[in-house]
Symmetry: C2
Subunit: 282 residues, 2 copies
DNA sequence: ACTTGACTCTCCTGTTAGGGGAGGCTGTAT
DNA sequence: ATACAGCCTCCCCTAACAGGAGAGTCAAGT
């Protein structure tokens, strides 16, 4: 019989840990002296603690380890199943940590190579459902957008539609031919009938990369380009149309420096990390 | 000015999170209504929360984020340094999680391919310093070891050396020529003079892979082989001589089934994973 | 004016796997 | 007898919130 300190030294764990395992009934000492309360372990319990440590090292929680040990008797199938599940979890953890590393590298890259440009903060989030009412059109020049927005606003007012949030633009295509975009406002529910205006629904639960653009719209293209860069560098790919949310626009303030626009681009993961042999094929 | 719920929806964080950030002074609302206590945020604070989220996503703690934001003004060098440090940390995290995954896979492998063999629990630990007194020799056959151990024990007794723990064998070489091994007992301090016996010191802080062998010594080779397999499969390499610690041996019990022997093999990491990302991080 | 329901507030507890320390008992060696 | 190492229990602490209790606030509808 070993006192807790000797047992701890053999197993290379702390005394606190052993007492903790005793408390949660994960590893109860073979004997506890009634008068002194001293915990006494048998050498055989080295087997137990080593199993616990091995499983802990595999990423199981102490509770899971207790469960595994409870159903341990010759039931290898169950345990193999548990291990397989854990392998899947662990693979997700590895992927997530690797993606995190990639984002860090992308961020440093951005700071070093564009140190005199504005610094952006890119964030990945899930969208909520949004019902937009507005109009889609094709415009040859960026400068045409402003007037179109005013037209849409006028229509909304005319049809007594009350927006519940800032205007949103959805860009379906931006190329040498101009802009194919939708301009609309979020509404509580879709009006039963619409004249001239159309409806555009944004689904809930989409994963988007988001960034804020400060100030006047002359430089918004740069922000969009930075977002595109970041998406690629962080190992994602486009999965939808970019939209802009005009949190603070000429409708709210006359000071262009105070304009605040959010750019959102739906994305999805490029999950080729599992193909270890086809790494970085770009 | 936005109420906490609106702001939370915009930033896609929970209200709890915002209140928490307020409490730790990471992101204080622009205004707090004196009578109601309602937190009111400005749209501009979207910038702040997005920076916080971006940094959190990079793996910084909230405290580190607060520090970064405190020294944020134009001091890109400092921030790049912090990012570089974090990249190193994160690389370690990725490596550790990948190693964990590898151990999981090795464990499942062991269970599926050797389902009727005994299941071992391999553990990695750091050794403590140990001073051994005993004898090194070369023996042609495994069966010779037993007698040699008894000789060493007799010498120890004769020289009035009191072991403070179980006997230890260190195997310097095991091949077709036989066994080159040291057999000794741990002592408190090195005796000033030794006759016949020699001293063997085991350093502290060595990383070893450890496994327990139950029962009689006929099958100890299999346990050793399983340990060797596991070391390789888990991505480590040998870094020293295997030793065996006879926690419960014929000296303690006459029942061979109760024998308990720990095998320890010093190991080191095969760190070629860093080379893979070396280009990207440099 | 009243009520309803949605929203917000503070305060408390719980999560993981133990670490740190206070204050007190035990066991052994000198 | 006394020192000193080792052990005990009990309580508080971690990071980043989540859940819930109980109470106050706000705008709309009756």
């Amino acid at each position: 019989m070993l006192k807790i300190g000797e047992f701890a030294r053999l197993a290379q764990v702390s005394i606190k840990t052993l007492r903790h395992y005793d408390k949660i009934d994960l590893l109860v000492p073979a004997h506890v002296d009634e008068s002194s309360g001293y915990r006494l372990y048998k050498i055989d319990q080295l087997t137990d603690i080593m199993q616990i440590l091995a499983l802990k090292d595999c990423g199981f929680t102490l509770e899971e380890i207790a469960d595994i040990r409870a159903t341990n008797t010759h039931d290898t199938d169950t345990i193999v199943t548990l291990l397989s599940e854990q392998i899947v979890n662990q693979q997700e953890v590895v992927d997530a940590e690797q993606a995190r590393l990639q984002r860090l590298v992308a961020r440093r890259q951005q700071m070093t190579t564009m140190s005199n440009a504005p610094q952006y903060d890119f964030v990945i989030k899930q969208t909520e459902a949004l019902t937009l009412v507005g109009q889609r059109t094709h415009l040859p020049e960026q400068s045409d957008i402003d007037k179109f927005v005013r037209d849409v606003l006028a229509q909304l007012t005319h049809q007594l539609i009350v927006p519940i949030g800032p205007m949103v633009h959805v860009y379906f295509a931006v190329d040498e031919n101009g802009y194919d975009l939708f301009v609309g406002a979020p509404v509580m529910a879709l009006p039963s009938e619409l004249d001239v205006l159309t409806c555009q629904r944004l689904q809930a639960g989409q994963t988007v990369a988001s960034v804020l653009h400060h100030g006047d719209y002359a430089t918004i293209q740069q922000t969009g380009a930075a977002l595109a860069d970041w998406i690629v560098q962080s190992g994602y790919q486009y999965a939808g149309h970019v939209r802009e949310i005009y949190h603070r626009s000429p409708a709210h303030t006359s000071n262009p420096e105070a304009y605040l626009t959010e750019l959102q681009c739906p994305i999805s993961q490029i999950s080729n990390k599992h193909d270890k042999h086809h790494k970085e094929t770009k």
